[in-house]
Amino acid sequence: MRKIVLIALVLLSGLLFAVRLFYLQVYDASPDSLSQNSAIKVMYDYPQRGYMFDRNNKLLVSNQPSYDVMVIPRDVKPLDTLEFCGLLKITKEEFKEILHKARVYSPRLPSVVLPQLNKADYASLSEKMYKYEGFYIQRRSLREYQVDHSANVMGYIAEVNNATIEQNPYYQMGELIGTAGVEKEYEDVLRGVKGVKYVQKDRFNRSIGPYKDGVFDTLPERGNDIQLTIDATLQKYGQELMIHKRGGIVAIEPATGEILALITAPSYDPSLLVGRDRSKNFTKLWYDTIGKPLYDRVLMGEYPPGSPFKTLTALVALQENAINVDDVITCTGGYHFGRRVLKCHHRGPVAMVSGIANSCNTYFCTVYKKIMDTYPTPQEGIDAWRKDLLSFGLGDFLGYDLPSGKRGNIPTSKYYNKIHDFPVHNWSSLATISNAIGQGEVLLTPMQMANFTAAIANRGYYYTPHVIKNIIGPDTIPKKFTEKHYTTVEPKYFEPVIEGMYQVYERGTAASIKVPGIEVCGKTGTAENYTKIGGKRVQLTDHSIFVAFAPKDNPKIAIAVFVENGYWGSRWAGRIAGLMIEKYLKGEITRTDMEKYVLDGSLEAEYAKPYSGKPFTINH
């Protein structure tokens, strides 16, 4: 006993230390990352964000320097608050609030006190900064827009939010990140890589030189420039044409899937979201719940496509062997089913080409019914029809390189089974007959309309639409944009449909708005739509819709135009489509009367109707 007490104690204390050291060093090891170390200060060096160019190398957006006042709460010493607030041009209460927030975020990491000073403010402040310990000025680069359009394509950058910081350790509070559009989609390409400097501090928080002689320090890497597929001239022109109208235009180069123009209206000047007034302007745009300038109608708006959808009905019918091109149907002014009738505005015998040219409802309802009748049950009919439509990029996200979008809707048999409570109640294909003419349950985004038009122009395939033409530097674009997607409709069935679309201009619904010297194929659309006013379903003036591509052979542009409550198809959308096509293919406009009509035309009175609180008339 006497011999072992001390030995036991020595061994026990050895064990005690082993446990304690294991706890401190391995189990409960304090965060080892350099940024968490109180002895190391991390300083960042922000790179230039990549520029954006249009398809003709016109500069769209570059950078300008800006200066943020930053604070590290832990290092703040008592200061002359009144004087400092005077310099920053904020009130004492605001200052206290900002400082409190910064402290809550982290006492050790930098937070923004005042973002985006201009050069003059910076100059007057910088010479007095030495007085305020814990505060410093961080140079950053901000966007400088060279154009006043394309805000919906380019998107914007904003201060990174807390959720992103938690997910992605690259970002620190107060840093900027692409939050919408191309800025968001190509954030990794555009932002570059920020440089990091680790500075060793002593216990008085004085810098005593670079940590480990700077072996962990990195230099900033400039972001890559991006060339967009957008044609700035066309984009600007389209935006002008859409003034005082709501809706959008999508123009695609069918041979590549490149988006030539992507216009939503109303929109905003991208420069509004830069600088100190950014948050004021953003709030204004955000709360405009009627015009919704931040809402991209061509990507997010799901509309009944109306008559342009008839081209697809025709293609599916041919593919499913439901009809021959030359089969003639006699229109008696409407499609009768049961006791109901789906009206048509013309009469007489129609075959496919004239059916498209004159947009005959009777013809397409008949054809649609025939598609369904080639299958034993309406369920199988709907699903076969749907499968063909999906191959045109409908009913799902298209996969383009912008971060917002909607699926649209191509209903399934399940969908109708649910509505009609199948199998308790049976339903016939006539219950879905409105789909034939692009009404009913079918919903498309204007982007999807442009894409199916491009697929028709290509006679049976499309490339996923995209706005990236080239990432300058690596000179690549994502591989998915160079892969052809074939439709399930065989190429040989496209010619009669295209002929029909050509005849739309020659002797059909768009004969009055011909584009001189260009063989355009198009299709008008006039879609009924409803809104709710005080809980009541109220019909509004029809949407004016138009899809087109040109020239007929070897098409260079496919376009979809959507004008909310613009009444019939050729009234607004058809005119706009023609002007866009001419502008793009010829560079100048021959029918200046038509151009003037569109530029001067306003639908504001139409849009004000539902908000007037008074009864109003539609479609006149």
Partner: protein, 418 residues
């Protein structure tokens, strides 16, 4: 006589562990004291350069200690002890005040701390007294005699003030216990420590209540043996008086800084910026180390001088940060190995003098090791004592070197008698 000399053989394992500890100590002192003005390893104006001189002189000291005839140490133990006591007393007249304590004699730029040498002297004196043929540690008179030998140097050191160094003399209870001191003294020490700590942590009232309840339970369980109730009441009363006086001393006699040191460890006040700063920074530095450490001279807390006194009492935090868990464990194991080796060798001594001395060496090293690393890793209150062989300082290094190598010599000559 030439034949007997061949029996003198030193324990190379002890010597090897000593060299390892001193070398590692120097490497860490180098890292902890490295700064911009340093000019290479042999810059003698730097702390690490000075330590290199102390280490170099230790070699001469070792040769000297080993060269002396082993019987000399037994024969002149009392003399050495008396000289040592005089050197401690002399401090009251000639001592130099360095950072608040009058513990040094100063010769120009060179200072010496006699309390570091007094440990070896006391160990020799105690070994001689206990090994005396007439001494029996079971005899109360002899216990008093041994206690006086230990108490004198401690008494002289406390008012320097250097309570840490004085506390070390409690370590001698282990060799005395080995030589027949009743185990009750150890238990009494343990009980007093528990009472002390729990009084500080919980307050005298709770401790008194606990003492009464536990005493009552023990009495009740032993009731069939007809226990002496007066004895129980006496023990309980003494404990309560002790607790109350601890409480009184703590609150009224201790200065705030002493109270703070205890309060930090007891978790009562956590103030990373104030008094707990040393311990807090030391723990951060050690935590930074992880499994493998940041690498020699790469510690960020070390470089930023966040840990005060890092090259002296807090040197182990550098080991923790730069050498990690594995390096720290190596140091811990070297100490454990060295101390156990000394105990093992002490048991093999043929003379009682050698055995008592060996035990004393082991106990002193153990106390330093235990209290120092306990402090640096935040288990114990801050008590300013060095880590043997590791911490910066010539007196400490020499004091421990002499202490250890006298035993190496005694052990080496052990075979002489066979």
């Amino acid at each position: 006589m030439t034949a007997t000399k061949s029996y003198v053989r030193f324990d190379w394992l002890i010597i090897f562990m000593y060299i390892a500890l001193v070398t590692m100590g120097w490497l860490n002192i180098y890292s902890a004291s490295l700064n911009d003005t340093a000019k290479g390893f042999f810059d003698f104006s730097q702390i690490y350069g000075k330590q290199m001189i102390w280490i170099g002189l230790s070699v001469i000291l070792i040769i000297f200690v080993l060269a002396i005839e082993s019987k000399f140490y037994e024969k002149y133990a009392s003399l050495v002890y008396i000289i040592s006591l005089l050197s401690l007393l002399g401090l009251f007249v000639f001592g130099k005040n360095i950072s608040g304590a009058t513990s040094w004699y100063s010769f120009g730029s060179f200072s010496i701390q006699p309390s570091e040498f007094a440990k070896a002297a006391t160990a020799l004196a105690l070994a001689k007294y206990v090994s005396d043929i007439q001494t029996d540690m079971k005899d109360f008179k002899n216990q008093i005699g041994a206690f006086i030998i230990l108490a004198l140097p401690a008494l002289f050191i406390v008012p320097q003030p250097d309570p840490g160094s004085a506390m070390i003399y409690a370590a001698f209870v282990f060799p005395l216990y080995r030589e027949g001191l009743h185990g009750v003294y150890l238990l009494f020490g343990l009980f007093a420590t528990i009472l002390f700590v729990s009084t500080l942590a919980l307050g005298a009232l709770w401790v008194a209540t606990a003492v009464i309840i536990i005493g009552g339970i023990i009495f009740y369980r032993n009731r069939k043996k007809r226990p002496n109730i007066i004895k129980y009441i006496l023990i309980a009363a003494t404990s309560i008086v002790f607790a109350l006086s601890v409480s009184y001393i703590f609150n009224n006699v201790f200065e705030q800084r002493h109270r703070d040191r205890f309060n930090i460890v007891l978790g009562k006040e956590v103030d990373a910026r104030g008094i707990g700063y040393n311990t807090h920074q030391s723990e951060i530095a050690i935590s930074n180390g992880g499994w493998f450490g940041k690498g020699w001279t790469q510690g960020t807390q070390t470089k930023g001088n966040f840990v005060p006194e890092q090259h002296t009492d807090y040197i182990f935090s550098t080991v923790g940060e730069e050498w990690g868990f594995l390096g720290s464990m190596l140091v811990v194991l070297l100490f454990v190995g060295l101390i156990i080796r000394i105990i093992f060798k002490a048991e093999k001594q043929k003379s009682q003098f050698g055995r008592v001395y060996g035990y004393s060496v082991a106990a002193i090293l153990f106390f330093h090791f235990f209290v120092n690393i306990g402090m640096v890793t935040g288990i114990f209150p801050t008590v300013g004592i060095p880590l043997p062989f590791f911490s910066y300082g010539g007196s400490a290094l020499w004091g421990f070197t002499i202490l250890l190598f006298i035993f190496v010599k005694l052990d080496g000559s052990n075979y002489h008698y066979s």
